[in-house]
Amino acid sequence: EAGVAQSPRYKIIEKRQSVAFWCNPISGHATLYWYQQILGQGPKLLIQFQNNGVVDDSQLPKDRFSAERLKGVDSTLKIQPAKLEDSAVYLCASSLASSPLHFGNGTRLTVT
């Protein structure tokens, strides 16, 4: 089976600019997650979707971050405006009910 696809692989922007990340989960996986991983730390959950509905976005900084999953398949995560502390790897993962997570290779964001 094809894995979780993410793009772009790397992105460098200046603070106050906006950026968007894209994720295509494994076909048939109803649950999709966005995690933020700061260097040297574990992944931190930003938002979880079940089909096209939000299950948990309690740790998403909603003043600057937004995410959507139209049609319950692909998802985009947007940051506007970016801050220096947003520099991190943004990981997308998908799963079937009660199954382990399948991760993409992530997007490494550098905010200068």
């Binding site: 995690y35 730390q41 931190k44 959950l45």
Partner: protein, 110 residues
């Protein structure tokens, strides 16, 4: 926050030795999973232990779970240089929520 903790933060061993890493979590779980992350890559699932299990084996991996202490350990036996990576535990809760620990960076020297 439901993020867990892991120790040690870093571990350096010789090839052939065993590596043990520990994880603690905060509230009752459905299961506990371990993932590996190679540099610059996403996480890969290694092994899952359910909340009613105490020990599980898979190849050179052995995982234990102590729900009374809210802790788990991962043992990698006869380590290889290719095992060099970061290892993370993930506690799975209701509604398929996963919270990750802070990770152990393992370096296996040839």
């Amino acid at each position: 926050s439901q993020q867990g903790e892991e120790d040690p933060q870093a571990l350096s061993i010789q090839e052939g030795e065993n590596a043990t890493m520990n994880c603690s979590y905060k509230t009752s779980i459905n299961n506990l999973q371990w993932y590996r992350q190679n540099s610059g890559r996403g996480l890969v699932h290694l092994i899952l232990i359910r909340s009613n299990e105490r020990e599980k084996h898979s190849g050179r991996l052995r995982v234990t779970l102590d729900t009374s202490k809210k802790s788990s350990s991962l043992l990698i036996t006869a380590s290889r240089a290719a095992d060099t990576a970061s290892y993370f535990c993930a506690a799975q809760y209701n509604f398929n929520k996963f919270y990750f620990g802070s990770g152990t960076k393992l370096n296996v020297k040839p």
